[in-house]
């Protein structure tokens, strides 16, 4: 055996100043001289991922495992007259067939409108109508194809506009469903939820304005296109009702609650073991394969059942980012001061409400962007159509909102004759300003982000539009945003010291590529002055791991970090007590030094460095060292009332950032090349700088796809491009974008070391900046994304 040399971050990529830099605005609980936090650390999950040993959802197998397959509706909207399963059951190897009749109770996080398998009606193409478990995948698929279903096709609600007529209702009677207090459907319509925000009086504001500008913007329907499709493997005992599921899900406790409800068992009966996740981005937040795999296992006498969706199922019948059609009206003074702004929006949420109320809510608070707007209004509606289900997609609606308000900022700036960046700087929020809910804004570095993003593309030296030597139309665009994080929310962790002095962190914050299994140990390493190598995150299992709300909303580093810091303080106390026992002194006479040494105050020679605590003997047959950390935001939360959503504290933190884009457009082919992207994100504190950069770099290429390439195309409720060639995510060949990133550190008073979030923010302004640059280059107000070559060749240039 050759010894593996120790790996370290490649220095070339650590140097600040070339492809990235750091701008410190405000330090909180940090000097910048920390040993672990603030320095790039290698990902703790990297070795198993490069050697192929990391187990993802479909890599988990059990002896005696059956394979699940689904019969899916070919119709987007139809009444189910009959389901006959005899032929399917007769296929050799079939062990269970489940239909909607087996589980008639619908479920849903916000409103229980969705059956796990369609019962009386199908509402989107690909909706499950029966499920089969068999000894082989081949037999399961064969049997699923033999399930006979009589459908009576119903009129298809293919578009938002058709849905808004309320002529055909997707859900005839909302009142039949169990509805939470945060979902607002309208009986007798296709409206599944709505959101209203009102600050001041927009009519008064428009009356005060010198100029009122109206525009609209539409964001197309997107698929997460996770390379790992949805999958789950379940073992559910029909006699004890004990349910176990192995799944790559990003919300273990959310899914546990839903499964308990669906199967009518207490939550503690549901054990979810989390595998590695091959991409999530909000797409693995809903329950998809889990309930069906459980139902099949129950019906097959408790045999393990694996259910994995293929790529076609993934496109047609999992989740997506909803289409949204926005209208915006802005009143502005001649000097560029905004007096009022009104946003109206309509989401095409697909067939079931799922997470849309949360998308609608988050987007609603962000719909006006990080600007001072004395009179503001938001009215948005979630409309149901016969399409696949809308859900969270990296930004929870805020990406779409940013694309809207930044498009409008460009139009208003042009009409005022103001430079787009100057117009934004004139109106952007600063500490002490009043936000959209009446909140007094703090820790808000939007100006710094805008300036840094602009600098990163050399903004000042570039005109709005120009033509290069090859005849390409070139332009620049800039966009900023603010995004809240889900509040209130709680988390907890257990930090457990092993007998050898190493640490396990038990936290349900899920690793899904964002690097949380590295940042969480960094907090503990810094707090305890312990070697990072000695700290790891335990696997996540709902029977053992303490509660965390979900891994969404860019909340993990902020929330889990706080919980870990609290637990580490307790670890220090416990270790001091154990040392006191060993040394025969009072615990208050032992201190835990800043350098990570457990030391006697009276006799400094009695000292145990933390990295040697395992050998010190102080833990030998003493009380195990085990600490709990908790963090929650219920106490600081001022619930925004539904009539206007005014609140002194709607979120524990606002995430802020800006990106600028330079593009060139080939006027002959209509193809767009994104030449340069400059980003600046206020991450509060970069715990693992390369981790932050990875988030932003990846998001930029993802956002490039959203701005220019990706859209789900439906005709009469049938998805036309449900494969990875016709639905176009960016490839390696599309990634040649010169990128410069500034990590802005404006420490948050409540964030651990000042940290904020960066999982979603990298994506939020990308499409907006690119769309803005294309609009500038072509001198055209493209009013939707993706902006396709067809739009560019047949464009109508702006006249003013």
């Amino acid at each position: 055996m050759i010894k593996q040399e120790k790996l370290r971050p490649c220095e070339k990529f650590q140097q600040e100043g070339r492809e990235w830099d750091r701008l410190v605005v405000h330090r909180k609980d940090t000097t910048g001289d920390e040993a672990v936090v603030g320095h790039t650390q290698l990902r703790k999950d990297a070795v198993e991922k490069v050697t192929g040993t990391a187990l993802y959802g479909a890599d988990v197998n059990f002896p005696g495992q059956l394979y699940g397959a689904l019969t899916r509706s070919p119709h987007p909207h139809a009444r189910i007259k009959a389901v006959r399963v005899e032929k399917a059951k007769a296929v050799p190897g079939v062990r269970a067939v489940v239909t909607g009749a087996d589980y008639p109770e619908p479920y849903g996080q916000f409103i229980a409108d969705q059956p796990i398998i369609a019962l009386d009606k199908v509402r989107y193409q690909g909706e499950p109508v029966a499920a089969v478990a068999a000894e082989t995948e081949e037999a399961a698929r064969e049997a699923a194809a033999l399930v006979e279903v009589d459908y009576e096709p119903l009129p298809v609600v293919n578009t938002l506009e058709e849905s808004m007529k309320n002529g055909t209702l997707i859900h005839e009677d909302w009142s039949r469903y169990d509805c939470s207090s945060v979902c607002f459907p309208v009986q007798g319509t296709n409206i599944g939820d709505q959101f209203h925000l009102k600050k001041g009086d927009v009519e008064k504001g428009f009356a005060e304005a010198d100029l009122v500008v109206e525009s609209s913007f539409r964001c197309g329907q997107l698929q997460h296109t996770l390379i790992e499709t949805h999958t789950a493997t379940a073992i559910a005992n029909p006699y004890t009702q004990d349910i176990q599921v192995w799944t790559p899900n990003q919300s273990p406790f959310g899914i546990r609650g839903l499964m308990a409800k669906i199967f009518g068992v207490p939550a503690e009966k549901v054990r979810l073991t989390m595998t590695h996740i091959g991409g999530a981005f909000g797409g693995k937040y809903e329950a998809k394969c889990e309930p069906i795999a459980i139902a099949l296992s129950l019906k097959s006498g408790g045999r393990p059942v694996k259910l994995t969706y293929d790529r076609h199922e993934e496109f047609e019948a999992t989740v997506c980012r909803s289409t949204v059609q926005y209208y915006i009206k802005t009143g502005v003074k001649k000097d560029g001061t905004i007096t009022a702004q009104q946003v109206t929006g309509y989401w095409d949420a697909g067939a079931y409400v799922t997470t849309n109320p949360r998308v609608d809510y988050n987007a609603g608070f962000a719909a006006h962007g990080p600007y001072k707007i004395p009179n503001a209004q938001v009215d948005t509606y979630v409309y149901m159509t016969n399409r696949t289900l809308g859900t969270a997609y990296r930004g929870f609606g805020v990406t779409e909102a940013a694309t809207l308000h930044e498009h409008q900022m460009d139009i208003v700036a042009r009409k005022l004759g103001m430079e787009p960046l100057a117009f934004r700087l004139h109106n952007c929020l600063h500490d002490g300003d009043e936000g959209i809910t009446g909140e007094i804004i703090s820790t808000c570095a939007v100006e710094e982000c805008l300036r840094a993003a602009a600098k990163n593309v050399g903004w000042d030296k570039l005109p709005d539009r120009w033509v290069d030597e090859e005849g390409n139309l070139c332009g620049k665009g800039i966009a900023c945003f603010n995004k809240l994080t889900g509040t209130p929310s709680t988390t907890s962790c257990v930090v457990k010291m092993n007998e050898n002095g190493s640490l396990y962190i038990w936290s349900a914050s899920r690793e899904m590529g964002q690097g949380v299994t590295t940042t969480m140990p960094q907090f503990a390493a810094e707090a305890l002055h312990m070697d990072l190598d000695r700290i790891s995150v335990a696997p996540v299992d709902t029977t053992m791991t303490p509660y965390d709300k979900t891994t969404t909303s860019s909340r993990s580093t902020f929330h889990s970090g706080n919980a870990i810091l609290e637990a580490c303080e307790d670890i220090k106390r416990q270790l001091c007590r154990l040392a006191a026992v060993k040394w025969g002194c009072a615990p208050e006479n032992v201190t835990y030094t800043a350098g990570g040494i457990i030391q006697s105050k009276k006799n400094p020679a009695l000292a145990i460095p933390i990295n040697e605590v395992g050998k010190s003997g102080i833990m030998h047959e003493q009380d195990p060292v085990l600490a709990i950390g908790r963090y929650g935001t219920s106490d600081i939360f001022d619930p925004p009332p539904v009539d206007g959503r005014q609140s002194k504290r709607p979120t524990v933190m606002w995430m802020i950032g800006a990106q600028a884009a330079v593009v060139k457009v080939n006027p002959v082919t209509g193809r767009v090349k994104v030449v340069k992207m400059g980003a600046a994100h206020d991450i509060g504190k970069a715990i693992n700088p390369t981790g932050c950069l990875q988030q932003i770099e990846g998001a930029i290429v993802m956002g490039l796809g959203h701005a220019l390439m990706e859209e789900m195309i439906y005709e009469e409720g049938i998805l036309r491009n449900g494969n990875m060639v016709d639905y176009k995510v960016p490839t390696f060949m599309d990634s040649d974008v010169e990128t410069k990133i500034t990590l802005v550190e404006n420490g948050h008073p409540e964030g651990p070391f000042g940290v904020k979030g960066i999982g979603e923010p990298g994506l939020v302004p990308t499409a907006a900046a690119i769309a803005g640059a294309v609009c500038h280059a072509c001198n055209t107000d493209f009013d939707s994304i993706p902006i396709k070559p067809e739009h560019i060749l047949f464009r109508k240039e702006a006249e003013d």
Binding site: E138, D310, E715, N721, V725, D726
Partner: protein, 311 residues
């Protein structure tokens, strides 16, 4: 996953012909057939793997032209220096099929027989005047590729015949060709529109012009209208524009969710201009380079490619 099927990989061509006549689905690289099977579109009960048939293997460049076994992969063409110089359109077409992984498996024969209107190698083969060589129990038939296509996924091919080889005549030194594949992204994409052109330039006059359109009809097709505008006329920007107009008028793209007919028609026009310029440029460039080399090495250069097996 793939449906159940019986698998045959004969080494004998007549056995292969018999299996095909009996209904087995011929497969070469599998980059179309297996994709369709995974997606449930193809449900053949019997698969006939052609890769063991020596009549379909091998490829050489001779003074007469390019003799390609139907099993020649796109990647093989892409990496073959001598082909790149003389059959530039073919190089461009083959090097833009799918991805590297697909090009290592996908074959020219498969690209033709899959019959997709967007087949990247077919437009270039058409403009280079390629011939299909088919084999069957009754022997060999040679058919101009243009005639080999008789409709959407339909060929001049008997049930017991197989496409065995493709022959592409050696272009003269004054020839140039080009292919433009219009896509929405830069890799792993299908041609939304493709135009291929082949020209010979003699004293500034265009001869033996061939233009083909991809994704403009049920099969890749020649644009005889554009060719008629160009043939025998001196090269000029105006002439090229008129040819592009003729191609756009002749092409019959449909509106679909992929794009409107209007957009595709515009693309035919604009892309034809670019491709013709490129083909002419290459014809003139090749000629000049050859002339210099001929002066440097009298009697040694310019008489075809010789036996190059790209080994």
């Amino acid at each position: 996953m793939l449906p159940r099927f019986e698998y045959y990989a004969p080494a004998d061509i007549l056995e292969a012909c018999r299996l095909k006549a009996a209904g087995a689905k011929p497969v070469a690289g599998g980059t179309d057939v297996y994709v369709n099977m995974h997606g449930g579109k193809e449900k053949a009960a019997e698969v006939l793997d052609l890769k063991g048939l020596k009549e379909l293997q091998g490829q050489r460049l001779t003074p007469e032209g390019l003799d390609l076994g139907a099993l020649t992969t796109h990647r093989h063409i892409e990496e073959w220096e001598a082909v790149r110089g003389r059959y530039y359109a073919l190089y461009q077409g083959c090097s833009q099929v799918g991805s590297v992984q697909i090009r290592y498996r996908g074959t020219l024969g498969g690209n033709i027989m899959n019959g997709a209107p967007s087949a990247d190698s077919v437009g270039p083969l058409l403009v280079h005047g390629a011939e299909a060589v088919v084999l069957g129990p009754a022997g060999e038939r040679r058919i101009p590729l243009e005639k080999f296509y008789v409709g959407f996924k339909k060929f001049d091919l008997l049930p017991e015949e197989l496409l065995a080889r493709i022959f592409v005549p050696l272009p003269p030194d004054n020839a140039g060709s080009a292919y433009y594949k219009y896509t929405r992204r830069n890799a792993m994409d299908l041609a939304l529109m493709g135009v291929s052109a082949y020209v010979e330039v003699r004293e500034g006059v265009l001869e033996n012009v061939r233009v083909a359109l991809t994704t403009a009809g049920p099969t890749p097709v020649r644009s005889h209208a554009a060719e008629a505008v160009l043939e025998g006329n001196p090269v000029s920007d105006d002439l090229i524009v008129r040819a592009a107009e003729a191609a756009a008028a002749e092409g019959k793209p449909r509106s679909s969710w992929r794009s409107s007919a209007e957009f595709r028609t515009r693309l035919i026009h604009d892309v034809t201009i670019q491709v013709l310029h490129e083909a002419v440029r290459r014809a003139e460039m090749e000629r000049k380079a050859e002339a210099i080399l001929r002066k440097l090495y009298p009697g040694q250069i310019g008489k075809g490619g010789g036996d190059d097996e790209n080994s």
